[in-house]
Each structure stands twice: as C-alpha cells, then as structure tokens.
C-alpha cells in the first residue's frame, strides 16, 4: 500500500493548526487512493499529545521525542524526517508552508533528489500523481503543476485547507522511531517569542492592515484596538514598513507575507499591485479609505469611503458591543 507521510509541526510542545490542516488533507487524498497516512511528530515531551493526529486522519504516528529535538534544528529534523521517508518508502511527502515547513521541506527534497511544489493552495491526485495549484508572482498568476518526482513532495499554505477531526476519538498506534545521530553543525542558542501572544499575520484568520493613510507609528493604536476587538493580527503595507512605522514581519505583499485570512480589513491603504498580490486570496476584503478612487475601492468586497480616524474607532466600539 502506498504511503502519504506528513510532517506534523509543533512549537513549544503544542501541535500547530497548520499541521492538522495537512494531516486532514492527506486523509482526503488517502480516501481517494487508498493510501496509508503516517504523521511524523518531532519534538520533546510530545508523546501524550501526538495521539490527536489520529483524530485528524493519521493511520499511524511516528514519534521522534528527545530533549535534543525540543527546538527546530534544520539538520536534526531533516535527518529524522528523511529516515521516516526512507523507512516507510512513502510516495508522497506533505508539509505545511510555515517558516519551519519552508525551511525543512527543500532539505528533505534535495536529500531525496527531487524538487517540491511549495506553498500550494490546491492539491489533488490524478493517475497516481499529485496535481497542485500554486501561486507565482505572489498570486498574480497560478501555476497548475503535475509533480513528477519520486517521492512527490508538496507544502501547503496555512489557512487554506480545513483542519477536520474526521476520526474523533480514534486511537491510533504511536510508534517510537529509532533516532539518528542528533548532532548538528547548527546550534540553536535561543528562541525569543515576541511580547505576549502576538498573532502572526501568516497564521491569523482576521487581519487588520494599516497603510500610508495611518500617517505615523503613533496612530497604529487605533488599528491595534480594532484588531484586538476581533482577535486579529495587525498587518502593514510596504509603505508603512519602509517608513519604519511597523516591523517588517508585519508586512503583507509580494515582498512581505502572502496571506489568505477569512477577513482582511485595509485601513488607509490604496491596494498597490504588489500588496494586492499578497492578500487577494483573502475570503472577504474590507477597505476603509477616504479616496474613493483608490484601486482597492473597486476590488474590496465592502468599502467605506471615509477618514479611517473617524471610521475605525466606531468599528471597534460596534464590534466590542456585539461581542459582549
């Protein structure tokens, strides 16, 4: 029987939603092809939690649990995953296109002498071959690709595929892997989390973005307040980042992050082509701009023509009211 091997990513000992999305998608492919879904869980002290991967559709879990694997190290994680791929003789390897997945997958691919299709937003099987859909030019066009390598490898963009507990309550076997040599030429000295529990734009379901119209870093508090009321992440346009108002990790667009949240609210941003490329996959787009001729006003699902300094605080109040 053929095998789909999935990298189930965890951070600080907690499995990530992006990983559940990939396991769920692997399950869907397996329903079509009759393949076996094997999830690879790498970390430290994660044995108790690994079982949840079965609820998302893994038939088996390969566990690599060791203190030395607590933090992501590209070399040790690669060695563990490549061993799992060889042992299971998997024909399909799937990753999530998170920072870790994007770092790990190409190393695995090169070790297996093939290329992967990264950041896919669509995936299916046809004649036993993976067919994927992935953005080029940050989403200005999409490439429909047949993966010819063996194994066939793809990474899936977070927030695009659903995480579904299709086998709620199911118990599957957790098999401890024999670990390779865990020494590495790279030493992870420190992992610093940004203050509090700052939500990253690439993982957020709602994003509130500020552009040039916010007029300065001191005014971003009204953007942050709206974001807080929605449990959203704060994004920024290239103009706002280049002006030094926001850190570059908040930047959305062709030279920032490409995102596809459920709701994307743009405040004082014109919708330049490089920005649009990075967020046009959002399910619902809202624009607040005083210039009714800004390009975004024709493209957004809903727009309000008006001064963001008047409109945004009222939005925050109204959302707080109904959330109460």
């Amino acid at each position: 029987m053929s095998t789909i091997l999935v990298f189930a990513e965890q951070q600080s000992g907690v499995f990530k939603k992006a990983g559940f999305e990939v396991v769920s998608q692997a399950r869907k492919l397996a329903e079509e092809s009759g393949a076996n879904v094997v999830a690879v869980a790498i970390g430290s002290g994660i044995e108790d939690q690994a079982g949840v991967l079965g609820e998302y559709g893994a038939d088996k879990i390969l566990l690599a649990d060791d203190e030395k694997l607590e933090n992501y190290n590209p070399e040790t994680y690669k060695n563990v995953f490549v061993n799992a791929a060889r042992d299971t003789e998997a024909d399909i390897l799937l990753f999530s296109a998170t920072t870790t997945g994007k770092d790990l997958a190409p190393r695995v691919a090169a070790a297996m002498d093939t290329t992967l299709a990264s950041d896919c937003i669509g995936i299916g099987l046809s004649d036993g071959k993976l067919n994927v859909n992935r953005p080029l030019y940050a989403g200005k066009v999409f490439a429909h690709i047949v993966i010819e390598g063996n194994p066939q490898i793809a990474s899936l963009r977070p927030n695009v595929f659903e995480a579904v507990k299709s086998r709620e309550g199911q118990n599957v076997s957790v098999e401890k892997m024999e670990l390779p040599d865990l020494s590495s030429k790279i030493n992870v000295v420190e992992v610093r989390r940004s203050g509090g529990d700052k939500l990253d734009v690439s993982e957020a379901e709602i994003i509130v973005t500020g552009g040039r119209g916010v007029r300065g870093p001191e005014h971003f508090d009204i953007i942050e307040e709206l974001a807080n009321s929605l449990g959203a992440a704060v994004g920024a346009t290239r103009a706002a980042v280049d002006a030094g108002w926001r850190p570059h990790e908040d930047q959305v667009g062709q030279t920032g992050k490409v995102v596809s949240p459920n709701l994307y609210i743009m405040c004082g941003a014109s919708g330049a082509i490089q920005h649009w490329a990075g967020m046009s996959g959002s399910k619902c787009i809202v624009a607040i701009n005083k210039d009714e001729n800004a390009p975004i006003m024709k493209k957004a699902d809903y727009s309000i023509i008006g001064d963001l300094f008047e409109v945004v605080p009222v939005m925050t109040e109204e959302i707080k009211k109904f959330r109460e």
Binding site: Y72, D103, T115, G149, K198, Q274, Y302
Partner: protein
Amino acid sequence: MKIAVCLKQVPDTEANIKIASDQKTIDESAIKFIVNPYDEYAIEEALKLKESQGAEAVIAISLGPDRAKDALRTAVAMGVDDVVLLKTSANSNDALSTAKILAAKIKELGADMILLGKEAIDDGNMQVGPMLSELLNIPCITVVTKLEVNGNSVKAEREIEGGVEVLETTMPCIITCQKGLNEPRFPSIRGVMMAKKKQILEETVELEDAKLVVSSLTYPQARSEGKVVGEGAEAVSELIRLLREEAKVI
C-alpha cells in the same frame, strides 16, 4: 574569506503579469526586470562582510537567460568584485536543478560564505538555499534578519512566526537574507560606470528535466464586484451587519 552571492533577475514588483500564448509561461515583452529584492540584502551583507572582515572577494552568480546580465551589472555597480552568468536557454522553474548547477560553481569557487535572498519573488519557491546546504553538505540558516561573523563563527537571528531564533554555526555556511537584515546601498556613479565595462564570465549550462511540470497558468479567479457600503462613520453599522450576516466572517 571568499563570499558568493547567488542572485536572480525577476519581474519588478509593480509589473502586471500576462500569461503567454502557450498558457504555460509568461509574456516577458513588456516586463521590467530587477534584481530580486531579497537578493539585494544578500549583496549588501556580502559587501559589509567584505569591509568588516577583509574578505578576498565578493562574487555574484546568477543562473538565468541572457537578460540576467543586467542584474549582475547592478551587483557590480553596488560593489561586487566579479560576476558569473550561468546561462540557460529559459527561466528555470526547478529548484533542485538550479541548486545543483549553483552548488557545482560554488564548490569550484571555494566560497566560505554563501548569501542568497530568502526567496525569489517570482516563483516564491524558497528552496535553493536549503537545497544548497544538502548538496554541499554545509549548514544553511534561512530567513536571517541579523548576522554576526567573528573569525570562523557565525551567529544569526532568523524570523519565525511570532518570534526570533538565534542560531550559531561555523563557515563555510549558507545564509538566506530577509528584509530587516540591512539597507541595501544604491549603486554609486563610479560603480555604474565600472559595471558597464565589467566583463561578465559566462558559462552555458543545461537544466535537468523539471520535476515539476507546468500544465497551465491561470489568472486568479475574478472576485465578484464589491459594494460601497457608505460614507463615514454612519456606514459602520451596516458594514458590521454585512460582515456578520452576508459574508459571515465575524
């Protein structure tokens, strides 16, 4: 120390991308090409390292069609010492094939520090840096926002979701560069003059058959026409209603 920078020529971020008549490639005729923005951070970091560490040379390598010479000339204008074009007949869309050719060249050059952008903004693959690591069997740290080199030791900060990782390694190594690492310099007038006369080493290379076969390119699905909800703060209640009841996103 020898520093190699791998760079790619890509369409400008403002470019409108048109699909060519073959439905598999893009129409390049009206496109302005630039140095991949993330590769500019790699060039700048290489030049800074040369200045601070007294590196022997900074060599920029580009794999691509003839037009990529312009990107290499930009690198010379910024201060790169030597440039190599690994000339292909078409744009490579296969990361492994690209990485294999680059790896062979890097080995031949004997570079100790290899710098690349964290990704090319055209195919957004983010693969070549980590693949070079595997092919050359040297460490690679990706998405780096801060780099310190001290003798043979390398300390790098890399951006992760909601935080930063601090990693250490030794040279030879590969670093892929993220925005925030530095501010790329503008080419000097003298640099631009030199770049015009600079001899570009040119080697014709053959790409392997791509493992990813493009069956077609398509434009994003057109979004349905939007709605102007109203003007000013009075429109907010209606907007919230639409988001809850029509779009069902909050």
